[in-house]
């Protein structure tokens, strides 16, 4: 009986869920959290390089959603909107303080307790550090496009909406950025 009485939020789209959230449906918020919390935590971690800070930002972002769900732009996809909000939060943070992004100390701590890394410890740290360095050399828009595509697996349409450019621009940015990064990181992957 309970099965028939509960609405199936798990099959609702993200856009429908945010609408239910604005109407006070707790289960809709719960479903939205389930879908996006881990992805956004990873996004913040990529930007801020600090797990604790990333968790704080994640809390702030969801608090914003609770307080102002009607700020969602219904003409856009929810995923594009939430990533652009997250990106803006990070931009504001970067304006406030200078972040040290070249070394990833998180992996140094975690690797000590880790059992089986995917590949050699040194390779992982070096690859990570070099990737961060090379990404930081890029223009912000190019870096964001690359990260959204290959680290957060957004579609080209979603990236175009989040960055407010055309799909053609997204494609050409990806083309040049990917080629450039691949060339710069090639020395690490040569055996």
């Amino acid at each position: 009986m309970t099965f028939f009485l509960s609405k199936k939020y798990s099959v609702s789209s993200d856009e429908e869920l945010i609408l239910y959230v604005s109407k006070g449906k707790e289960k809709a918020f719960d479903e939205l959290y389930k879908r996006y919390a881990k992805k956004l935590l990873y996004f913040f971690f990529q930007k801020l390089n600090d797990e604790e800070k990333a968790n704080d930002f994640l809390q702030d972002l969801f608090l914003k959603i609770i307080e102002h769900p009607n700020k969602f732009d219904e003409t856009k996809k929810f995923s594009s909107w939430i990533y652009s909000v997250a990106h803006n939060m990070c931009k504001n943070e970067f304006r406030n303080e200078e972040l040290h992004l070249s070394k990833n100390n998180f992996f140094k701590e975690k690797q000590e307790n880790n059992v089986t890394p995917f590949f050699c410890e040194i390779d992982l740290k070096l690859f990570n550090a070099t990737l961060c360095q090379e990404l930081n050399k890029l223009e912000e828009t190019h870096r964001l496009t690359f990260e959204l595509r290959y680290m957060h697996e957004l579609t080209l349409n979603e990236i175009a909406e989040a960055t407010e450019v055309s799909i053609g621009t997204v494609k050409s940015r990806l083309f040049y950025t990917t080629k450039k990064l691949a060339k710069e990181l090639h020395f690490l992957t040569e055996k």
Binding site: S6, L63, S172, F175, A182
Partner: protein, 158 residues
């Protein structure tokens, strides 16, 4: 000169190195990139993908974070008065429930209206003239069925 990857090429360099491509796939790739460039990108993307999986495994969200958010949500959306044990009819997800419920309400309304109307007809009120006509005895209109004898006439006139 191509300035973007098409979807097929993008899919390919996530999955295969240049040497693993079929002949037609190689032809497609070579329209945009050299073999060396393709392999560089393939290796880079593959390593990023492995790194992503590793990062995702290591990151965790504290348990009470979600609870705090839900408490905040409840506080923001709490209602002044809520009846206990009420079934949220709007949220019932039986197919065609809402149209059936609406049709039942309309039918019930129709039945109640019909019954009330019928009772009204049964409770028809007579006018004063009709009441007098059917209840008052007019001796003038009555015909005597029998002849009165002297005694009976005397008694009736007492």
């Amino acid at each position: 000169m191509n300035t973007s990857f098409n979807k097929k090429i993008e899919h390919l360099f996530k999955e295969k190195s240049f040497s693993e491509l079929t002949f037609s796939e190689k032809e497609t790739v070579l329209t945009s990139l050299s073999a060396e460039e393709y392999d560089e990108i393939h290796t880079c993307i593959k390593n990023i993908s492995l790194k992503n999986k590793k990062d995702a495994q290591n990151l965790s969200i504290p348990q009470n974070n979600k609870e705090q958010l839900l408490q905040h949500f409840r506080k923001k959306h709490q209602t002044q008065f809520s009846m206990p044990f009420t079934v949220p009819f709007i949220e019932i997800s039986i197919p065609y429930f809402k149209p059936a419920f609406l049709a039942t309400c309309v039918l019930a309304f129709f039945v109640i209206a019909t019954v009330m109307n019928k009772e009204k007809e049964d409770n028809y009120e007579l006018t004063i003239e009709e009441f007098n006509k059917y209840t008052t005895l007019y001796e003038d209109h009555m015909e005597s069925d029998y002849e009165l004898d002297e005694t009976t006439a005397f008694l009736m006139n007492m």
